[in-house]
Symmetry: C2
Subunit: 504 residues, 2 copies
């Protein structure tokens, strides 16, 4: 194995790869078993990891399997101590970033096959399996049939992230409105104040917004008391802009905001777009259900879908709460032609008979990059392994745990819910003491979160919810339940820790 | 293992994951061993793969390990027959898409860890290891020290693809020129006629180009006889645009074009930008070395780096020819501030002490998406496993094989080189017969390529090179050597097949 020739390329031999592969599989399984033994948040300071890494690249490679001992040592001594453990069952921060066995096997498979699926012809299975599993998702989530790849003008595609999905939707919307309503009037995009930061980033990337403070071309709309977009405020803004000679072209509605899980009501939004003539002029309604979309596998959580008939595109992240490793954003549109219009460039070196025939999908024209790996495999394996029933059981269990948590909060007068529970996200806080200034309440909550996370036993993140009416702006803690391995004991332990710290 | 409870979530048990993991590792190793037994190009028609997939998603999941038998069967019966085998040692199309054992292990590891490295604080090791391996690449490739993460204003980051790198560079350039040269003059980007399609796509995405036919804001510049950008033509275009009140803001130079491996000379381009005042007004020079950049690990292939001192950003794809699975584009800039200016949006729910301190890198602000997986692991394992010497040996071997191929072409009067060999890319064709019309020569070459690929024994792609002077436009075959497993026998077999088909 190690009898390397002078000048020979030191590839791993097949048997070396097998042995190291088994060992890596064992290491990962072992890591998952050990997850509760690590501090959830990496207890390192900036530079700590870098200080343990050689400043210069190695001249010589590793000496076969033996040489890899050093790699496995570094995983323990350099990588793990610097890792915030998103897979910990006590990670409740941000939104979950699900990893599951079937998805990891799919990612491994995709890496091994090394297919480049930019064109149908460069990866027929990569393309057709993706179209099929996206169609499966339409059915699993109860989405409109106009999103099916078999529909006349729609289809689904895997994007890297909801940010990319929003960008792609926005440039498709721009292409469409320019075609349907020519002219140079400035374009304006709309979303609630609670929209994800990727909306503004997409507008900055595509040039609709000049910079992060451009509130002329990206208008954020007031919400109601539960932080869903206020349709009347949207209508006022659109009417105002139309009167000023601007072109409203894009509305991003959110099912399950990042801050508090709020849901924008699609029905009334669609009606506003119809009533103001935005729909008729080619305007686009995009739905960002990045996190909450996964819950649509359960019919009882589909209330938010009312009004979907007005929606041009929709995305959600199986890589958040549907057991499929990052990156896997499921993006659907009923107007794939607008995507091609905005994104298709055909250089000679990519021309091929299949593309020229018009009978195939070339997914490169549905996304930002040209290249793409075979990401459908991991989604396929997850959907097959769990099945509809398994996925439903998974979502329902987390929602049940969130309900339990809400119950505990309700029984402890020191705490309060900040907004009604949204699926498995609970926004809560230490309640204001009598006559306490709101800044003081915020400070106590901020301190509680810092002490909580410093224990290393759990990790939560926070948000700030804007004031509504008499209610001041509030700093709140977010308990996002949804880890692959999270069970009732972890949620309960987190609550008991919160109670203990609140007593100190 | 399989005693599933009613309503329980059917996760793979640890031991099931281990066993399936070993099996998947074996399957991949076995696939690599069998690569030469498959037709390189998938012999399927549109719809063939889809026809073998169930139309509806499964209601019930797989019954543990046993259930996965069906998955492994489908890999053989559905996925492989529909796969164009990019990892075949006889795949010579497009550019290589390298997969290697160490990279696959790194991808597996990244999937298992499931870290979300959007912020330093959400993945300190993910961030700091990435910065370090990018610094290693600066050293390995002989790039300017101004690209190091330890330099005052520079640094490197892994992008998903060169397309994303170009987009990020372009929006950074736009932010910078707006700051340095305020005003509303239309922005213009420049590149040679041979630039990759991702330049136009980036301009369409960011709104600099209105559509794919916008030659006002994306100007393609004539080349010299070997298809490198003509600096005089660039200077004329810039001067003309300046005189017309436009703002030249972005030039994309290519080291190793996709068509023919041509190299744009950075020195003269930088001089044009300085002389026309574009540099002083904030203009940006980006270098796309997506494929050829890998060869810079060898000092003898660094001629193209002359003039790098004028370059603002540079990218190359370790996922092409440096043994690191897709996706892994290495992007470097000497002006990271411009990236942050163009891409940074800080919502409350992402605020954290480390970011606020300004002492850490948050890579989300260097890229299109918010989320990011731990891609540095695979690059780290590749650089460690092979070492500088191993990488050099790898590149040199492919260049040697390309030289051999050129030698054979030179000895067969029926064939000719279309342009001088560029590293391991050989553009060649059946030579024109006496008095043959150029369209007829093209047609013979097109037919040859189709017959060649139809054999399934090899796969090559083509390009069309524009006419220069008296020379007509030419359809040419591209022999891109660079597969992980490609050896002299594969190149020779391809040549012998070409000779045989040319005789028929």
């Amino acid at each position: 194995m190690s009898e390397k020739q002078e000048g020979a390329v030191p590839h791993l031999a097949a048997e070396e790869f097998r042995q190291l592969g088994y060992r890596m599989v064992d290491w990962i399984a072992g890591y998952w078993d050990r997850l509760e033994s690590f501090p959830v948040r990496a207890p390192v300071a900036p530079g700590d990891v870098a200080a343990r890494l050689p400043p210069h690249p190695p001249e010589q490679g590793l000496d076969g399997e033996k040489g890899w001992e050093a790699v496995f040592q570094d995983l323990e001594q350099v990588v793990l101590p610097g890792t915030t453990h998103w897979q910990s069952p006590s990670f409740f921060g941000y939104f979950p970033a699900n990893v599951s066995g079937p998805a990891v096997l799919g990612e491994l498979l995709s890496a091994g096959l090394g297919v480049q699926g930019m064109l149908w012809s460069t990866g027929p299975a990569c393309t057709e399996l993706e179209a099929r599993v996206m169609d499966w998702l339409v059915e699993l989530l109860g989405l409109p049939a106009s999103f099916l790849s078999t529909s006349p003008t729609g289809g689904g595609v895997i994007q890297g992230s909801a940010s990319e999905a929003t960008l792609v939707a926005m440039v498709a919307a721009r292409a469409r409105i320019r075609r349907m309503s020519p002219g140079d009037a400035p374009l304006v995009a709309y979303a609630s104040t609670q929209v994800h930061s990727s909306l503004l980033k997409a507008a900055m990337l595509c040039g609709v917004a000049r910079d992060a403070s451009d509130t002329t071309h990206v208008r954020t709309i007031a919400t109601d008391a539960t932080y869903g977009l206020n349709p009347e405020a949207l209508e006022r803004a659109i009417t105002e802009d139309l009167a000023a000679g601007k072109r409203p072209f894009f509305v991003c509605a959110t099912l399950g905001t990042t801050s508090s899980g709020a849901v924008d009501r699609l029905g009334p939004i669609g009606e506003v777009l119809a009533r103001t003539g935005v729909t008729a002029s080619g305007g686009w309604l995009h739905v960002d259900a990045a996190w909450a979309g996964a819950a649509l596998v359960c019919p009882e959580f589909r209330e938010g879908l009312a009004g979907m008939e007005a929606v041009d595109s929709f995305c959600f992240d199986p890589h958040k709460w549907l057991l499929t490793n990052f990156d896997c954003d499921a993006f659907f549109t009923r107007d794939r032609g607008a995507l091609l219009e905005a994104l298709s460039v055909m250089p000679e070196y990519l021309r091929n008979t299949a593309s020229a025939s018009g009978s195939v999908t070339d997914y490169r024209d549905w996304q930002v990059p040209l290249g793409r790996r075979f990401r459908a495999l991991k989604l396929w394996l997850v959907l097959r392994h769990y099945g509809r029933q398994g996925l439903q059981a998974y979502i329902r269990e987390h929602v049940r745990l969130a309900q339990r948590f809400v119950g505990w909060v309700a029984q402890d007068a020191r705490f309060e819910l900040a907004v009604p529970r949204s699926l498995a996200l609970v926004c809560f806080r230490l309640a204001a003491r009598p006559a306490e200034a709101s800044a003081a309440t915020d400070a106590r909550n901020r301190a509680l979160l810092e002490r909580l996370n410093a224990t290393g036993e759990v990790f939560l993140s926070h948000t700030v919810l804007p004031g509504v009416g008499e209610r001041p702006t509030r700093y709140v803690l977010r308990m996002a339940i949804g880890g692959t391995r999270t069970q009732e004991g972890h949620v309960r332990a987190c609550w008991e820790l919160l109670q203990r710290l609140a007593s100190e």
